[in-house]
Structures are given as C-alpha cells and as structure tokens.
Amino acid sequence: MKFIRDVIIVSSMMLLCASCAMFGKSKEYHGFDASLLATFTPGTTTAGEIVEVFGAPTHMVKLSNGNAYIYERSVSKGTGIWLVLLSFGNYETQYDRVVFFFDNEDTLTHYGLSMHAGDSSYGLPF
C-alpha cells in the first residue's frame, strides 16, 4: 500500500511540475549608426548627404513645409509559460528610430533620435 501511495505522490508531483517554457526573439534590422548623427549640421546638411551615410530611409513623410525621413529598427522578445491549468505569455517590441526633418529645399532643419530597442526584455506578463 505504501508503495502505491509513493508512486501516486511522485506521479502527482511530476504532473504538477509538467510545464513548458518558450523564449523567442525577432529583429527588424536596419544598419544605421546613430553615432554618425554628430557629423550632420542642421541648416547645411542636405537630404542627399544623409541618404549617402544612412542609406534608404524606412519611411518618408511629406510634411506641410518639407519632408521627414524615418530610419527604424526593432527588437521583439517573447516569453511563454504553460503550466498544468495556466498559461502566460509576454511579448515586447521596442524600437531604435532616427527622424530627419527637411525644409522644402531638402536641407536638414531638425533631427530626433530614440534608442530603445535594447530595452526590450523577456519576462512574465505581471
């Protein structure tokens, strides 16, 4: 009888511990180098010079008084855990983004930089 009970206890514990976990990562890559921003000067740098250094932009937007070129890349990290009755998932996407604003003569007026792709993390949803 004790043997049967031990088997059932061990089996029950194995059943409760039966779970599965998943980790995943995906990237949308664009090889721009944000440190090169220091070489650009608003008021004199042209759109052509920026494209020469950064390559083709991810998006272009026509503005009321000029254009904007957007360079973007992202990192996504996913975590999933399946327990006996419960399952949890977490999926986080963060971006690195550079935006250049040009006037109607395609001269750089402003730029903005956000580097958050490295903040993307694995984890539970609570």
């Binding site: 986080e92 956000s114 609570f126």
Partner: protein
C-alpha cells in the same frame, strides 16, 4: 487502516483530477507591449512657444509623423495589449463527435499617447496627452464605454505637470 485508505483515496482522486482537468479547464493570459514609456508633458512644453527642436531633444524621435493640411502632427505612443481566456470543456473529441466546450475570451488594448500639433513654422500649437495604461485591466474591460471614470482623456494646451520618468536615450536638435 481506515486513515491510510482515506489518504490514498485523496491522492488517487487528486492524481485523476490532475490528469483530467488540464484537458477541461484552462486559463491563458498574454500581454503585448509595443513602444517605450511616454513621458507626460510637464511644464517644459508650452503651446505657442515651444519649438520642434525642443520637443525632439526632450522626447527623441516620434513614433508617427503626419501632415494635416497646414499643420504637422507628431505622435509618441506606447501600446499595452492584454488578452485573456478561460475555457471549460470535456475532451471527448478523440472518440466521439461530441466535444462540448464553453470559453470566454477577451482582449484589451490601452494606449499612452502624446500628440503634438505643430504649425508649418514648426512651433508647437497644441498638446494632447492620454495615459490609458493608468486604467486597471478589469476596470477598463468592464467599465461602460461612455463612463468618464479614471480612464478619461486628458486635453490641454499647457499647464499642469504629470508624474513620470524617462527611460532609454532620447535626443534631438
């Protein structure tokens, strides 16, 4: 002897329940985050005087840019999406055409958004800030759509400061 029988019976029932229940009851929760935290507009931004350069140096590159006639719109946004489901079913499907199951599922998207409207001279004209993530999941899920509650939208031209912190690297000129 009777005591031992009862303990064994409990374990047997627990084991059987552990084998059968996973096929019958399950709960899932998935959270999806897109974008970094949006810093609330403090007193640093003033409609009518702040420039595009000041906004870019404070918030970095916007998530979305749009032209609205003679104005431009910059949007900084973080999306928090939650999806949960609870299902009950009896897994007869392997040996029968009948496979009864009842489930309840729901999804909720909440947005922290800062929308900045600029004139064609790139002077800040109007600020709108919404912090949807401040509304708890269950409250947002079951609150009446037209209720103001804690989840109301915040509109402003300038003025009050909001609590918040900055993460990552943001800069601009």
């Amino acid at each position: 002897m009777g005591f031992r029988f009862n303990v064994t019976l409990v374990f047997v029932m627990g084991f059987m329940a552990g084998v059968i229940l996973p096929g019958c009851i399950s709960y899932q929760f998935v959270r999806q985050i897109q974008g970094s935290e949006v810093m609330p507009p403090g007193d640093t931004l003033k409609a009518g005087s702040s420039t595009l350069g000041e906004v870019l140096s404070l918030y970095g590159a916007p998530d979305t840019i749009k032209a609205l006639g003679a104005e431009d719109l910059l949007i900084y946004e973080r999306t928090l999406y939650g999806n949960s489901g609870l299902s009950f079913g009896i897994p007869f499907g392997d040996f029968s055409f009948v496979n009864p199951e009842i489930s309840a599922r729901g999804g909720l998207g909440r947005y922290d958004t800062l929308a900045l409207f600029f004139t064609s001279d790139r002077i800040l004209r109007y600020i709108v800030y919404t912090k949807g993530s401040s509304c708890p999941y269950l409250k947002a899920m079951f609150e009446e759509e037209n209720a103001a509650g804690d989840c109301k939208r915040v509109k402003r031209k300038n003025g009050d400061a909001y609590p918040g912190d900055e993460k990552g690297v943001d800069k601009g000129q």
